[in-house]
Subunit: 331 residues, 2 copies
């Protein structure tokens, strides 16, 4: 039980902000080896602090919208204002998209050398459940190491946005100007996670198109109901230029205004408590399922039953009952 475990040798340097200790601690929570899992849980327990006040921002944007450039400009502004920033990446599909995000730190040259910024590329594993746990735990670690703002980046594929919106305080969607046939559309699930839509590249030839795209998204956001009790002006859409810096400070002001409103209304605390509870229940569910599938016979039985249910030969509930009966009567 974590409470009884002696403090890990990483605890002290981690809490004092040692970057190598932080990097090692994240590597530890990324490991799936059982002994590392136990050590990681104890380490996370030893650095837990309910009073720690941080801001977690989810940032989604598909390749080509200028996300690295945006993070460089936004992050440099934050560290310049005295914040300590951590940038984490969630990329369950790095094998498919041909390269992990944040893999190329050269596009975040200044931020990568900034002592007040910590950038961690996504590991190369692809299992979504594991991604959620690792990312949540990496957030806890960078916060323990003194980073008061955490940016969690995602590439906008699959379900990663839902995951990230469940572990962050606000969600920013970064888009490029587009219109007519170019318009690819936003993946389902992302638009509704967005608190703030930023249309990037609002500079030079693209400025007009960026404003038009921004107006389109502002219109679409008006058709969607906002979260009960949330700030009246959100979700909103704004234009920015990561290259010229235009709008970056306004975007940060909007994020702060939304964060302030949520803190004052109590929505912030309720959301974090709900998120924590959700991940606890999810961890219990995954643990229970892992115990079941650790038995090769039950795992094979579950595969077989799942295939029959998929073909509609067996109803889902009946098949689940069969499996649970097998579990109960097992050795």
């Amino acid at each position: 039980m974590p409470d009884d475990t002696a403090f890990d040798p990483l605890t002290e340097p981690l809490l004092s902000g040692d970057r190598r200790a932080l990097a090692r601690a994240i590597t530890l929570v990324e490991s799936t080896r059982p002994e590392d899992r136990a050590r990681a849980a104890a380490l996370l327990q030893s650095v837990a602090d309910p009073g720690r006040r941080t801001l977690r921002i989810g940032l989604s944007g598909t390749p080509g919208v200028g996300k690295s450039t945006f993070i460089e400009a936004f992050g440099t502004m934050l560290t310049g204002a005295g914040h300590r920033l951590a940038v984490l990446a969630v990329d369950p599909s790095s094998t498919r998209s041909g390269g992990s995000i944040l893999g190329d730190k050269t596009r975040m040259d200044r931020l990568a050398r900034d002592p007040n910024a910590f950038i961690r590329p996504s590991p190369s594993q692809t299992e979504l459940g594991g991604v959620a746990r690792r990312t949540r735990e990496a957030i806890a670690l960078v916060e323990a190491a003194g980073h008061d703002i955490v940016l969690v980046e995602t590439v906008g594929v699959g379900q990663s946005e839902t995951l990230v919106s469940r572990m962050t305080d606000l969600f920013v969607l970064l888009l490029a100007p587009a219109g007519g046939d170019e318009l690819q559309g936003v993946k389902r699930g992302i638009m509704e996670a967005a608190d703030i839509v930023l249309v990037n590249k609002a500079d030079g030839d693209l400025a007009t198109q960026a404003r038009r795209t921004c107006a389109d998204y502002a219109g679409a956001l008006r058709l969607m109901r906002k979260r009960p009790g949330d700030a009246p002006d959100f979700p909103c859409a704004m234009t920015v230029s990561a290259v010229t810096g235009m709008g970056i400070d306004a975007a940060w002001n909007a994020m702060q205004a939304l964060a302030r409103h949520r803190r004052e209304s109590g929505l912030w605390d309720r959301t974090r408590a709900d998120q924590n509870r959700h991940w606890f229940e999810e961890a219990v569910r995954q643990g229970l399922m892992a115990r079941l599938t650790a038995d090769p016979a039950l795992a094979a039985r579950m595969d077989d039953l799942g295939a029959r249910v998929a073909r509609a030969e067996l109803p889902a509930t009946a098949a689940a009952m069969v499996l649970l009966d097998d579990l109960a009567s097992g050795p």
Copy 2:
């Protein structure tokens, strides 16, 4: 084990389309008594038929959009065309919204008396997990009783749309004309589930506003990416009038075109197989969790740990490990 169970006395009359047997079978799957659960599972198994070809339509619309009138007009058209229609309701919040949906059958006067239509109001329970199971099983039962089209109605609150979109073949969102300050917006999660947005009340004074609302939603839908491999013209927005009948046949044509495209592309079969597998895994997860919380000591332990995790005193993973250790070392 369901496979070994003798056929239920309800099986035969249910398969021959007996309405009272169908109503009783649905009452059986709505029951949470363990002996009813086992009988329901066996009954569902006895009427399972992978070759049965049906169309499941999810329909979401908040009170006031004219949903009952729409179902009456749409349903009467379907039965007039030789279809056998079942209308089911998903309403996890009936206690809050002040009355279960479909509770007032008088607004569906013709359909309620139509021998080719079967209308089943939502039961008054409120637990979402139970709603999903009951609704899925009611779908299987009405289909076994010969209904080739199933309309699953939801009031657009909470997570019911996600549930319903996971058990239907296509999803229709019904809206009323609105603009400016009246615009309430669509609840997050619903817009994304929608394949077809229907703006109702496109008659008389509201016709112009309905067309404008329709154009607004058509614009918003263009900003969202469609499902990979789906028909090119979807999601789409159309105007209808449930009162005059205007557009009802066009809406049905659109639904059929989308269904045909999905059937021919293979998306239909893949989606149903994925849905079935999802509900099987969900049933296993719920069953495992139910076993854990059936032990009062473990249930209390889980509550306590959950509260501490919610307050950020304990990390989620560590707390889950503690609970699972307790389970393993239990009596």
